[in-house]
Point group: C2
Chain length 210, copies 2
DNA sequence: CGCATTTTTTACCGATTGGACAAACGGTAG
DNA sequence: CTACCGTTTGTCCAATCGGTAAAAAATGCG
């Protein structure tokens, strides 16, 4: 009997499948789908290639399981965006949550970045079926805030894009960020600097305050 | 004699090399370095694989020539950022130039995004030797503007990051942008919408103006 | 223990990859 | 015509790829 059948029956199967997905996240997020090899993932998971293929029937099956299991986590910060409460506070909290995601889950961020860069061949259906409705729903909330005069009149979709772009940048372009900022002096200064800057930018922009 | 020697002597060599680089930009920007194959590039360039290898000694040589030749173009908008003139006008112009680059050269943007995502293995030296000094120089200009009270007191490096992130997002994540925004109604509305939003964001932020 | 089931390893396969190489082609000057 | 030059093609190769098959080893269980 093959363990690659959907429901993970035994304890070992659950554990090994998790181990493989963890290793696959490492490799796929660094090399992209085509750049990654089963051998690399197997080695990162501490097992042989045929052994890995005992738990997942193919490279594609690993990738699918990985990216499908991650989308919910990835969209969680946006899901939390609520219409009650002060809009500026809500948006600031959303920006901070996304920035925390970029800090705590950079591999996940790079995995999605790679996927979208290649034209989202594996998750196009998910983008249309899950992402777009969610974004539209949250855009409606933003529109409500604008109508109520709580925030400036801006395009809600582009606002969401800009929050995505600026926060994920710190995960996806981490290499470049490190080169430009140089070696960090100590502590988690980098994160707080970015958070402070983004909050200032999104709240008040660059125009000098009197 | 092999044409892969650095200086392109004949007219045909210059033309064919350009043709190959153009095709390579197509393929590399869509598939990434490892995902691209010499065969794909050769076919896109309308020649056989051995013929292509007559003009470039290896896949890596194509990639190197491509990415090195592109860095200057890519950094041109930042180079134009000048200390004279109104800071807010200068920054707005820079944002618009970068956005135009994302619109007119999306393949170049994705090529760099892919490269940085993989940890910049081919251009790390260039990032340190060219990109970082340039960014530091421009950061000094921004600092001068802040000292003069011309713009709000923000971190210059994170400001540059945010401009890069928001503008390049429209090239790198084009697939996602298209899904979320749906089919465009007509004309080049998308670009103008993004430009208007970003200008508003960077100038005044989201806080409602009285 | 003995037996059945699950897990792991060894050996292997066909396809694709980057690349080498020599033969063949084509224009041009003598 | 011929010799020579840069160019192009056809053929081949070793390495690597995703994946399979079957034997061997662990493991769970009465």
């Amino acid at each position: 009997m093959n363990a690659a059948g959907q429901p993970a029956r035994t304890r070992i199967q659950r554990e090994k499948r998790d181990l493989i997905l963890e290793a696959a996240l490492d490799v796929f997020s660094q090399q992209g789908y085509r750049g990654a090899t089963i051998d690399q993932i197997a080695e990162a998971a501490g097992m042989s290639k045929p052994n890995l293929l005992y738990y997942f029937r193919s490279k594609d099956a690993i990738y699918q399981a990985l990216i499908h299991g991650l989308l919910d986590v990835w969209l969680a910060p946006l899901r939390e965006l609520d219409s009650v409460g002060d809009p500026l506070v809500e948006l600031r909290a959303y920006i901070r949550r996304k920035l925390e995601m970029a800090r705590d889950f950079p591999r996940e961020s790079r995995l999605f970045a790679n996927e979208i860069l290649q034209g989202a061949p594996h998750i196009m259906a998910l983008l249309e079926g899950e992402l777009k409705p969610l974004v539209d729903e949250k855009a409606d909330i933003v529109k409500g805030w604008i109508r109520a005069g709580k925030i400036a009149s801006v395009d809600p979709w582009h606002l969401i894009f800009s929050i995505w772009a600026t926060t994920q940048h710190y995960a996806d372009f981490d290499t470049q960020v490190r080169v430009v900022l140089g070696p960090l002096k100590g502590g988690d200064g980098r994160f707080e600097d970015a958070a402070r800057f983004l909050e200032g930018l999104f709240l008040d922009g660059l125009r000098p305050r009197a």
